[in-house]
Every structure is written in C-alpha cells, then in structure tokens.
C-alpha cells in the first residue's frame, strides 16, 4: 500500500525556480485598510509569498510607513509584480528596479492589454518574458487561460504559468475549468490560478483542477472581514489540494445508493 498521507500535510510542498514552499496560497498586498490589517491577513492566510508593487518613493514624506515595516521580507518572500504596466518595456524596467531594490530574481510578470478588461497582452508578455529570462530573472507569468500561450511562455523561460480564472478584481470564480485543466496537464512548470477568485469555493475549484497554487488579493482585501476570509482561503486551498490528491469519485447520471440493498426488511 502506498503511503498517501505522505503527500498531504506538511510534506506536501511545491517548488518554483528552485525555491520550495509549503503554502500554496499567494496573496496580494493591495487594497487593505492599513498595513496592520494587511499583515494580519497575510498571517491568517499562511501565505509564504506576497506580491508587491514597485512605485516611486514619496520624496516629500520619506518617513511615511513602508510595507517592509509590517511584512518582514526575511520571513515572507516578496514577489515584485509589474501591476500597471501596459508594455513589455515598462514591465522590464519595473522588474530591473525591483531586482535592485530587493535583490530578488523571482518576479511576477504581467503586461496588461487594456484598462477595461485588464486582460493580459500576450504579445508584449511573451516579449518581456524572453528578455527577463535572458537577464537571469525567474518570471512567474500572468496570462490568458490558453494552453498554447502557456506552452509558448514556458518556451520563453517562464518558471510558472499563472492563468486568470476570471478578470482581475471581478471575483467571478473559475470561468473556464476546461482550459485551466488543459494548462495544468500540459505544463512542466507550476500552474497557479491568478485573478478571478471571489470566495473560498473558487480557490478550492482551482486546486481540485490540479493547480499548484492560487494567487489572490481582492477576494481577501474586500471581504467584510479580511482576516477571516484569509483563513477561509487557506483552508480552501488545503481542502482543494487534498481533494485533488485523493482523486474524486466518478460522476453518475443517476442516483446510486450508499447502503446495501441486500437484507432490506
């Protein structure tokens, strides 16, 4: 008998670009009321990676509190992102600065196509991915839920494929389970659903499809109780992962009794 328990709990880890993590939940650090609430939500989520944005320092008020004062980059891996970049050039410039600021080469690339849908611009994304990989970055890449685009990204040096489940900030859940599953089946690098998760069951769905992880921000930050939602997401990701590893039952078109029919009185 194989020891399936060894695959769950603390020994179930995933590895991206040579770094191994226990938590399969990555959380954003935007939209929170304040740094305290943000830090408490990260703690409750159990996340070991947070995404951060690169922005100009406020030179008129340099003593303003900084994220690094509340979330310790020595304990939590900072994943610099390119949120707000609409061209490959902007994204590359942002990540070069991020590498200089933090010394990290593990980065999250996203190049958006338009403000209305915030859909990724795959032509620019692929271009940026290639350049970054050549410069020694390990780009985890936000992308459309398209198995062909995912393969092309992998060829361009992406260390993780991060398809959207639904538009950024929409909370609509996983809209196309078929394409997410196809991406998971075809990928040789970790696949994480990035964007679209609205509530805990959405995160569980992503994990049940075999994704290596889930990234979310708004679903936690805009919940009425973000800290409780962070915990719910942690549990949902764990539950979805276990369900995937356990292997779900087959579906049937009609009822099937769970009690023996023999011996009915």
């Amino acid at each position: 008998m194989t020891d399936t328990s060894a695959k769950t709990g603390s020994s179930d880890t995933w590895t991206v670009a040579g770094r191994t993590f226990r938590s399969r939940l990555i959380v954003g650090t935007g939209k929170y009321r304040d740094f305290e609430e943000n830090a408490a939500a990260v703690e409750a989520s159990g996340a070991q990676i947070v995404t951060v944005a690169v922005r100009r320092v406020n030179v008129s008020d340099p003593s303003a509190p900084m994220l690094t004062d509340f979330i310790d980059p020595k304990k939590i891996t900072y994943l610099p992102n390119t949120a707000g970049c609409f061209t490959a050039e902007e994204a590359i410039r942002t990540l070069r600065l991020a590498r200089e600021a933090g010394g990290w080469d593990l980065v999250k690339l996203e190049v958006l196509g338009e403000a209305r849908t915030l859909y990724p611009d795959m032509r620019e994304t692929l271009k940026a991915c290639e350049v970054l990989a050549k410069e020694g970055f390990a780009p985890m890449v936000y992308c459309v839920d398209d198995p062909i685009a995912a393969r092309q990204l992998e060829e361009a040096g992406a260390v993780a494929i991060m398809p959207l489940g639904a538009p950024i900030g929409s909370g609509l859940g996983i809209q196309n389970k078929v394409t997410i599953r196809l991406i998971v089946e075809g990928a040789n690098v970790p696949v994480l659903v990035d964007a679209g998760v609205g509530t805990a069951s959405d995160a569980a769905v992503a994990m049940e499809l075999g994704c290596d992880g889930v990234l979310m921000n708004t679903a936690i930050a805009e919940a009425k109780d973000p800290i409780r939602m962070a915990r719910a997401m942690k549990l949902a990701v764990e539950a979805g992962r276990d369900a995937y590893l356990a292997g779900r039952m087959a579906t049937r078109r009609y009822a099937d009794p769970s009690s023996p029919l023999a011996g009915l009185i």
Binding site: V27, G28, T29, G30, K31, Y32, F35, N38, T51, V52, A53, V54, R55, R56, V57, V59, P62, S63, M66, L67, T68, Y78, P80, N81, A83, G84, R93, R96, L97, A98, R99, E100, A101, G102, E110, L112, L118, Y142, I168, G169, A195, L215, M216, N217, T218, A221
Partner: protein, 72 residues
C-alpha cells in the same frame, strides 16, 4: 560650474550641491538606501555604486520602493 545642480527626482524639480553623489541625494531625502532602488538617467544605478556616481546638471532620477499591490 553652477552653484547648484538642477535635478528631476521622481518627476519633480529638485536642487543639490555640485559634487553630490547619488548616495548623498538619497540621504538628504531621508531615505534608507537599503530599501530603495535608483534609476539614473534611465539606467539602473547599482546600490554598490551610489556613493561613487556624481550627479550632473539636468540629471533625471527615479527612486522607487515596494508598496502594497496585487494586480493593477
């Protein structure tokens, strides 16, 4: 040599003394150089070189750090 150098820092005009280095500027702004990254005239200025690079009149600098953010 002008009495002061005119710079553009994060899109805003700023003046500094001739002979200043990037590190001097960062310190004069009250910033911790370990927590920021500097782009000098469009090129990354590695942290190890900040004290060596002298600023010139008309230089454009971007000083960035990490802030909270998920997606856009």
């Amino acid at each position: 040599m002008p009495a002061e150098l005119s710079l553009t820092v994060n899109g805003e005009p700023r003046r500094t003394a001739p002979g200043s280095s990037i590190a001097d500027l960062v310190a004069s702004l009250g910033l911790d150089p370990r927590k920021v990254a500097v782009e000098h005239n469009g090129e990354i200025a590695p942290r190890s070189t900040l004290a060596k690079v002298r600023l010139g009149d008309g230089d454009v600098l971007e000083i960035v750090h990490f802030v909270g953010g998920g997606h856009l």
